[in-house]
Symmetry: C2
Subunit: 197 residues, 2 copies
Amino acid sequence: MADYDIYGDSGSGNCLKVLWLARHLGIEHRWIETSVLNRGTRTEAFRALNPSAQVPVLVHERRALAQSNAILLHLAEIHDSPLLPCEPFARAKVYEWLFWEQYSHEPCIAVRRFQKVYLKRRDDEIEPKLMERGVAALERMELELARSAFLAGPRATLADLALVAYTRVAPEGGFELESFPAIRRWIGSVEREFKIA
Amino acid sequence: MADYDIYGDSGSGNCLKVLWLARHLGIEHRWIETSVLNRGTRTEAFRALNPSAQVPVLVHERRALAQSNAILLHLAEIHDSPLLPCEPFARAKVYEWLFWEQYSHEPCIAVRRFQKVYLKRRDDEIEPKLMERGVAALERMELELARSAFLAGPRATLADLALVAYTRVAPEGGFELESFPAIRRWIGSVEREFKIA
């Protein structure tokens, strides 16, 4: 029996990043498909695991951990993975990108994609600020990736894994990547690094 | 001369939490007031520190670190503070709350307060979802604090410091705390723990 249960929606980048890291680290796990759209996160059983009713959730030895980037940090830590550097400042820069992802990237890029792909909204039914803020987030990444191979330095870290999840599917949300050559180069590198198909 | 420069806006909970931790840990620091409203975060000099044009920023030995909760983690780590537990799962629960704060709490509770207090908006000029989501965030905290002295267990951690920053001023954003007795008790405990006046 697998040591770890991962409750996730396979259409969600937040959930996929946890799956990709589990595979990368060779962690035996069981994936429990939990659909956001079908209200799988709203059941009583699921809320007992995570009262915030959000996926992903990692369960190990009857203890549940929520928040995708908290799960990434936890798994990398207990496996002493170089994806989370030991040197304090290098490590802190990974933290910085993980918080930035959840505050300045996911709420526009993932949310706009969700509204288009899953809720089938037309462009004129979507809050215009999502596009404006999403483009600003991509510009911020392009600036970094034009001068560095990966977001937090010369080697891949959790920052890249977390950010690639929704950046690689940003065009589905209407964000064109033509004018972001460094981002396109980086997506390829990160997909190869983590064997993301 | 102080080892650490903290660029922050003293009206911002995100900035104050860094200041409170620096004081708590006895870190010598210089506070550099950087006003969001007066576009102090939009200058070329500030963008050289943080291209995302957000406060707070911590500068130490010419290296800059952004994202309030990344700064909290970094300072607690380099000071071996018990505010960030060593045991991996307990530590991960602190991560969980820090990400939850930036995703599910700050974007409604801090943002509604900002619109009311700083932008002087009337209630009918504010997106109604901010109130709905803010109340849901408070309910989530109340659930936890009704069964636990602090958010991530029996002792105060970075999770409490991060969450108290905007929860203590939530009424300024129109969020009444009367129906949240556990939150009110907890605010008092956290303010005493960190000498927040």
